[in-house]
């Protein structure tokens, strides 16, 4: 048995100090050790994107990282997208308004991918939206209402905080 390794990082703004086996993936660590079960496992070979989280502010596949690699990093999961008082982000509100999901399994990863897009490009075209979410597979929605939700969120965010 290989010894565990101590790591320190932040998850959704909170500091975490744990000891992890080297081969434990970041997604398994988040889910099983930290109880953050919002990030989901769909393939474990980096194709479906259900495990997407933000690492140092960019979306990545957490099944393709070992938890030890997150040492010193800032991780944001779906649980961290809402405000500290539980206020939903404009993107989450738009997903709800547009019913941009059905079973909800791909949704956390999709939200992270979409948030990553809007962080970088607050006024994306429909093509840019599809390009950004092409990292994340959804079997339920056919993507239509997801694209519409991201467009709606961008529109609301660009109109200003009073309109969101």
């Amino acid at each position: 048995m290989i010894a565990t390794i101590d790591i320190e990082f932040t998850v959704n703004g909170k500091p975490v100090r744990i000891s992890v086996p080297p081969r434990m993936t970041l997604v398994d660590c988040l889910r099983d050790m930290l109880g953050l079960t919002g990030s989901h496992i769909g393939c474990e070979h980096g194709v479906c994107g259900a495990c997407s989280v933000m690492l140092d502010e960019v979306p990545i596949r957490s099944c393709l990282m070992f938890a030890v690699q997150a040492d010193g990093a800032a991780v944001t999961t779906v649980e961290g997208l809402e405000g500290p008082d539980g206020k939903l982000s404009p993107l989450q509100e738009a997903f709800w308004d547009c019913h941009a999901m059905q079973c909800g399994y791909c949704t956390p990863g999709m939200l992270v991918a979409a948030q990553g897009l809007l962080d970088e490009n607050p006024d994306p075209t429909a093509d840019e939206i599809r390009e950004a979410i092409s990292s994340n597979l959804c079997r339920c929605t056919g993507y239509q209402q997801i694209v519409e939700a991201i467009q709606l969120a961008a529109q609301r965010m660009n109109e200003g905080p009073d309109h969101a």
């Binding site: 048995m1 290989i2 390794i5 086996p21 080297p22 081969r23 993936t25 474990e44 070979h45 980096g46 994107g49 997407s52 690492l55 960019v58 979306p59 990545i60 596949r61 099944c63 393709l64 990282m65 070992f66 030890v68 690699q69 040492d71 991918a113 990553g116 897009l117 390009e131 950004a132 092409s134 990292s135």
Partner: protein
């Protein structure tokens, strides 16, 4: 799909990494971990089972994009997405800029590295193909020294390169073409972002009269390694590039390549598609050179 056990190392300097890799004479299977976008799935499927995983993501010497005028140096550990977004790439390495959006997806490019793709040496991968077309210089370090080698000759076989045990690819130096140039990259993949079935990259330089003075053309997915199409280049250099000339120049392509069949495309498919993709790339490169 959980990886087999391994010992984990995280060197912070290149010297330290070379030292860790250089230990030989035991049963250990040492492997470098960079972006992990290909290695980690293979470990999850237990097709790769390193006993010693050496994480080189913290080594700053492997990061960075440097414009040296006649060339651009990219640290092997630089994220594909950083290269994609850097203005230097668009200005000085347009062929690489054209190829990068085809490499996986946003999220994989956020972690995947330029060097990682090159040392994997997948004949269907875009970055090795670009490196070969431009004949990039590959700078390799090991514990007892450093050497430079060219992309031409580096890719030896399917997923096999000239890297020796103990080597670390540290920098890729891409030559910059001056003058009036145009480049283009085309690929066919089952879905956008998938491994290419066939890909073609082309870069041309024209003189003031519009005559082609330089051409570099290559294909991926058509042989055990990425392939440079010297014969096609020779047919174009010194000529005015017309549609007819290009059509003629691509005619020998099916005989220049040695594709294999896979579940998504037969060798025959690749043989038929390759010249057409080369043609498309050449026509686009040409129209970029002389808008």
């Amino acid at each position: 799909m959980k990886a087999a056990e391994f010992e984990y190392f995280r060197p912070t300097t290149l010297d330290e990494a070379c030292g860790l890799l250089a230990d030989t004479g035991d049963d250990a299977d040492r492997c470098l971990l960079a972006g992990g976008q290909t290695l980690v799935p293979m470990m999850a499927m237990r097709l790769a089972r390193p006993t010693h995983l050496i994480d080189i993501n913290r080594i700053t010497e492997l990061q960075g994009i440097r414009d040296l005028g006649g060339s651009v140096e990219i640290g092997a550990g630089t994220r594909q997405r950083a290269v994609e977004k850097d203005p230097i790439t668009r200005r000085k390495l347009p062929l690489l800029a054209a190829a990068l959006p085809h490499v996986g997806h946003h999220q994989t490019r956020n972690r995947g590295t330029v060097g990682g793709s090159i040392v994997l040496g997948d004949a269907s991968a875009e970055i090795p193909l670009v490196a070969l077309i431009l004949n990039a210089t590959l700078i390799i370090h090991r514990r007892d020294g450093r050497r430079e080698t060219m992309a031409d000759g580096f890719f030896e076989g399917p997923m096999m390169t000239a890297l020796e045990p103990g080597d670390i690819l540290t920098t890729i130096r891409f030559p910059v073409w001056d003058g009036t140039t145009g480049s283009a990259f085309h690929e066919v993949a089952p879905r956008k972002g998938d491994y290419a079935l066939v890909s073609a990259g082309a870069q041309v330089a024209l003189d003031a009269n519009g005559t082609c003075i330089r051409a570099a053309i290559g294909v991926g997915g058509c042989a055990p390694t990425p392939l440079r199409l010297q014969a096609v280049e020779d047919a174009l250099v010194g000529q005015r590039l017309t549609d007819a000339l290009i059509t003629q120049a691509i005619a020998p392509v099916p005989d220049l390549i040695d594709p294999e069949s896979s579940v998504h495309a037969s060798a025959a498919y690749r043989r038929r598609a390759a010249p057409q993709l080369v043609q498309r790339a050449l026509l686009d490169a040409l129209s970029e050179a002389r808008p």
